[in-house]
């Protein structure tokens, strides 16, 4: 193939081969600053894909809210499952 070799850490996740996954994870930036940057990148990607569009409807925000409800359910599962057992 004619591609120039790229360092493993800089590849996107879908381009990393399975064997390289360990070194990819080891080289990523897990400092608080790095995590914040990653969150910001993800947020911008979501925003530009679903909300910052010409005729954005309710779907963009609705997906976020449904995801929030799902995460809350998972987070509280221990607590909620006790209600049905008494």
């Amino acid at each position: 193939m004619a591609d120039r070799p790229v360092p493993v850490v800089e590849k996107r996740l879908m381009d990393v081969k399975l064997g390289e996954l360990g070194s990819w994870l080891g080289g990523r930036d897990f400092t608080p600053n790095g995590i914040l940057q990653a969150i910001r990148r993800g947020h911008d990607r979501y925003y530009n894909k679903y909300i910052n569009v010409k005729k954005g409807g309710i779907g963009g925000v609705a997906m976020l809210l449904v995801g929030y409800v799902a995460i809350s359910y998972l987070w509280e599962y221990d607590h909620i499952s006790e209600i049905l057992t008494i």
Binding site: N52, G60, L65, Y68, E76, E82
Partner: protein, 227 residues
Amino acid sequence: MILSLFDQFMSPTLLGVPLIGLALTLPWVLFFQPGARWLNNRLMTLQAMFMNWFVKQIFQPMSLGGHKWAALLMSLMLFLITLNMLGLLPYTFTPTTQLSLNMAFAVPLWLATVIIGMRNQPTHALGHLLPEGTPTALIPVLIVIETISLFIRPLALGVRLTANLTAGHLLIQLIATAAFVLFPMMPSIAILTSILLFLLTLLEIAVAMIQAYVFVLLLSLYLQENV
């Protein structure tokens, strides 16, 4: 383990991380920055409309010195209204049901308005302790009463928000449990209860918005007196 009705207000944790952390940071995710374009997308336009309307509503009667508080009161309003409305979704946690959070908002902001008043115009600020036109004999009693009412303001602000939201959530849980339990036994009564639950949820949506508004409005009034 016997569950009480107040268990829904205990802060749930997963792997030691409390859900309140996620619930408190979610409003940041939901409000987006206006872009570099002249005409933004629909959501941003709605958001900007709301913010403009609200700022005019709150700051029109206020003198110029109080306009420095616009960003703070606006962000407080957005935060509270988002937290209240998100708490109405199923399985979510409402941080504003915790008295600690509401007092943490109320006490510093109220204290700031009082200190600003005392520093910039102490006579005028102290003059608020005596309403105009009181008969002379009642003056000492009234000063005591007005001082007490001044000091009770942060408590009232915090407790008002907490109590309203907690009571609403509790009612929703009670009526929902009643409807759920009644359904196998007496379906017609369960339908009536479900209609009641629906109306109550509408009320809760209104209360969520109104309480946030009242909180910020009262703070702006305290600021007007003192600025």
